[in-house]
Symmetry: C2
Subunit: 216 residues, 2 copies
């Protein structure tokens, strides 16, 4: 049983790695830079896209999005309301997107009309980490309302991301969250990774984050 398990896991991981490389090559060829947005349910992944898209439009960049959720189209509806091309991906029972699902979503997107593609992963701090999608970079979003021990509990997602966002900083005093602890834990797991403090409800902190994304 354990041997089968290990072989199967290796097979799935290897197939995903190949599919992610194919996605990356395809996105590169189409001139699309893609960001894999990770974080728990309600951390602010969709709100981040909502804040970034108008600013990208202002500077002449075209955005697109893939909405990953176990079920439903709540995020997808918010994304198409932005007037950008978007695809909804329901995973059914899976707690993460994988490169194969994303390749089908890419089939349904007008890649030639997209500069920056946001791939919003399923709201989950654990499962998505193991499945690269072919994005240029991973952005992990946590919020103060998840508790200031949220970083400490999830080392891998911070190690595997390139940008961290700490959102809902305005609510930190109300929930008793110590933002210093959160940024210290991020620095411990991934020294040097840029961290941005935001309130995506108002847009506070989005400017420096946009600069970092454009630098990528």
């Amino acid at each position: 049983m354990h041997l089968v398990d290990i072989h199967l896991e290796k097979g799935i991981a290897e197939a995903n790695r190949r599919a992610a490389e194919e996605n990356a090559a395809r996105l590169h060829a189409a001139g699309v830079r893609a960001y894999d947005l990770l974080g728990a349910i309600g951390s602010g992944k969709t709100a981040l896209i909502e804040r970034l898209v108008p600013r990208l439009t202002d500077i002449g960049l075209k955005a697109g999005a893939i909405a990953g959720d176990v079920y439903g189209d709540d995020d997808f509806q918010r994304l198409i309301a932005l007037g950008i091309p978007a695809v909804n991906v329901n995973t059914g029972k899976e707690c993460h997107l994988d490169a194969h699902l994303v390749s089908h979503a890419l089939d349904d997107l007008p890649l030639e009309a997209i500069d920056i593609l946001f791939i919003e992963n399923v709201g989950n701090m654990v499962c998505p980490t193991d499945f690269l999608l072919g994005a240029s970079k991973r952005v992990v979003v946590v919020s103060s309302t998840e508790g200031d021990d949220v970083v400490s509990k999830h080392p891998m997602i911070f190690r595997e991301s390139g940008i961290a966002v700490v959102n809902k900083v305005d609510l930190a005093p109300l929930v008793g969250a110590d933002l210093t602890r959160m940024t210290r834990d991020i620095a411990r797991y991934h020294p040097g990774m840029p961290v941005f403090m935001t309130n995506l409800k108002t847009g506070e902190g989005i400017g420096p984050l946009l600069d970092e994304i454009l630098k990528g």
Copy 2:
């Protein structure tokens, strides 16, 4: 590949079901009533235990706890600070507890000195659903700060639970969450399931929830 996958999943599910039944029998024989606490990171699962334990003590009932997390002992430290017997279970990369892990945790608990056992699952809205642990009942905890679409996005966890808690109701206006939508979505997925609105920071709403748990 797919056939192996299906067989393996069936094998794992079947082994977990048997282990869960063994846990249930063992808990029953020891006179322990166990609750499997489900919900996202930061929803308030640990806070719920912190609020319930003193009230249980007041009425002469002894509590115990199992803290499930991917990594670290943040929750475990809060639980032992309550002065109750507790065991920390780190799942490593798994996004849920399973019945086998719980059986080992039961080995390390003084079951004869416990009336009510709280099994705090890994913070996750997806993975724990498929893995029964042998508890008498599942309690799902969501918070308004996760967004009022959090229920809509996760039908299964509500269908599979016996009690629902909507926490951080005080923050709902600040994050623009519609609590009516949340309770309506819960009723849609699991008609008749009791739902309790709480602010576990202050303890608001804990009384009726305690009554429901004692009824069980």
